[in-house]
Symmetry: C2
Subunit: 399 residues, 2 copies
């Protein structure tokens, strides 16, 4: 007789890497040292006030379920939002989700059965790894090499990883954790591969507008050649600075996909009512807020780049998008360095917490000299953080 035991997927899924650092951070903070946290994508910016206005004014007597395809005005607001990128989705091509996280889970289950494969590029936003374990899907990684600023390998290189079990490919653009912006040519390579091998493209566009140096925001849904293949997973969390609202969306022109995702969504009924309502005016008039937001992140990107340029041994190219800067540091084990920073080191009563990159890789052994910085704080603090990082690295290497 078997033991009472949790599932294999439950045992296999990894704990949030941030969690293991928590006790160190807490101990350090107890000593009175300030820990500047630029490890997670939880920004300090103020969300559009229309969101709160609508929620405060909610006059409904009851708080009912919404339809699974969303409150019509909410779904229509996403429709309006997407139009500015040349994407003219029907209402049935849009289903609200609980953050981009649920959108990804729904999309993955819609295209892959347990045991099937999903092509991904590493380094990869770590939640995909957990979602894959939970849903029984195998992630097959294609390396985007740090040395080549995360450039896509040739189609032939990518195709080597495709098997009979491959059902889809994931593109995150702009990318977390690398800060990479996909070029038109790279996107076309992926589209061509998808069409040739009949693969869906899960296009995670959470950071869509957050592109620097004048780059225009786009959506893979605007690529007419790829229409049937693309499933966009998206979220209000980053572009409107409201991760706690957990308002995401799945969008596709593929009617089979949307019908499937609707059936999944019906089983869990609906997403929260108030946040759907609050997001309507925000989506209907996104540009003013987003324009300011991108300017702010651009400034922060520059501050980070300037600070990093002054640290001996650090290798990086300034991020092209999203809210993350990835970099190489002259250490063997960045996790050990991070631990050092949050438990042994301080500079003028402060220290910095960044993210070691190894957990963003699937292939063991990779990313051990890389870290990710999230520029989720004010430029002044970020400038200081880069100085602390410099001093910390110096101290660590002198050990």
């Amino acid at each position: 007789m078997s033991k009472l035991q949790v599932s294999k997927r439950g045992r296999d899924v990894i704990a949030s890497p941030i969690r293991k650092f928590l006790p160190y951070v807490q101990a350090t903070e107890k000593k009175g040292i300030k820990v500047i946290k630029i490890n997670v994508g939880d920004p300090d910016l103020v969300p559009p006030q229309d969101f709160f206005k609508v929620i405060r004014a909610y006059a409904g007597k009851t708080l009912p379920y919404t339809p699974s395809p969303g409150i019509p005005a909410h779904t229509a607001a996403w429709q309006t939002y997407f139009k500015q990128f040349g994407v003219d989705l029907p209402m049935s091509g849009i289903i609200p989700a609980v953050g981009c996280a649920e959108a990804i889970l729904l999309a993955m289950q819609a295209v892959c059965d347990p045991g099937e494969e999903l092509l991904v590029f590493e380094p990869l936003y770590a939640s995909y790894k957990s979602f894959a374990v939970m849903t029984g899907i195998k992630l097959v990684p294609v390396l985007l090499p740090f040395e080549k600023n995360f450039a896509l390998p040739t189609a032939a290189e990518i195709e080597k990883k495709i098997t009979k079990k491959t059902k889809a490919v994931v593109v995150i653009n702009p990318d977390n954790p690398t800060g990479k912006l996909w070029t038109e040519k790279e996107l076309n390579t992926v589209v061509a591969i998808a069409k040739k091998h009949n693969l869906f493209i899960i296009s995670d566009e959470t950071y869509r507008e957050i592109r620097f140096d004048g780059k225009k925001p786009t959506s893979l849904l605007a690529n007419k050649a790829a229409r049937e293949y693309v499933i966009v997973c998206d979220s209000a969390s980053k572009r409107f600075t409201m991760p706690g609202a957990r308002t995401g969306v799945v969008a596709s022109f593929n009617t089979d996909v949307m019908h499937t995702i609707l059936k999944f969504a019906q089983a869990r009924l609906s997403t929260p009512t108030l946040e759907q309502l609050g997001l309507i005016p925000v989506l209907n008039n996104s540009k003013p807020y987003v324009t300011k937001l991108v300017k702010e992140y651009h400034k922060r990107r520059d501050v980070i780049a300037e600070g990093l340029a002054k640290i001996p041994g650090v290798v990086f190219k300034p991020a092209q998008g999203a809210i993350y800067q990835s970099l190489q540091i002259p250490v063997k084990e960045s996790e050990d360095f991070v631990k050092f920073m949050i438990s042994e080191f301080s500079y003028k009563g402060k220290t910095v917490m960044v993210t070691p990159m190894q957990d963003f890789y699937i292939t063991p052994g990779r990313g051990h000299s890389e870290i990710r910085v999230a520029y989720v704080l004010d430029s002044k603090i970020l400038k200081e953080a880069m100085e602390i990082l410099r001093e910390g690295l110096k101290a660590y290497l002198a050990k």
Copy 2:
């Protein structure tokens, strides 16, 4: 080369049965006929006003993610709430979820791998069927016979369905869709089986307090003998009449289970911030609201029972709990009857929409003469609805 095609789980999952009736309802409403909807569990009651007060008063500048184990005061409020049922959970034994729906999904994935089996009792809340398809888990049904008022079969009967792949058993108490209340003896039978065969018990207690005829609310977590085995899935949706808040919870004394569910929860980061905050005062002072609510549902249950008693050929025992009454009607195909009611029939300009029960069964052929009534409307309307049902059934049988 394979075709671009959604996953098998995507094809296999069934659409919400309500959806197929929607076009009929819309056409009927267009004709000016009022459709009294007592088919879904979306009640008319007003939720506790403290919930809205807290949300309206939200003064945070940002809207950040919350910790995956919940805002501490929110998790502590669940802890306080559970204490009144003799359940003294540690904070780590509680994780907020997006409605009971997500709680069930998390619990199922924590105990079963793809291909493994979950013992359930049919008729069964239909979302379990979809969740099983999505997660690759096989549901193995044990019949609770309508004729015996859904009484549990003997342990020996149940054990016949247990295989090497069985990992857990689901108990919904009070039960949707039957309105059944589990007896102490029945619960003990399931606990004994779980302990003998090393099965987890997923205890869906969404309707916990909604018990009639003076029956006291309990939780299976209060059963000390079953401590390690029980995973409670719960929600604020029904007891506080706020389904649109999507605030649920998973609770267990089993540390392996909670550690696993925390890892799953971390991957999708957190549940919405505002609703977690709003629920705090409601959970901390649940009794006054819930007492009134149960009284109201009790009254409605009686109104339904009185109305049904006047319909020739209808067989039922008054529901003992939850917000549903299941009944047999003298027809071969209740789905056809429901269609008749919402497309061909009206009485004094009104008609009634109820739920045919067959979709609550897993075994084909079952439930075709059964319907479910949700008493989610005012007694006066319910009384009228029962009259319309009587006239409708008469007209249907006369066809």
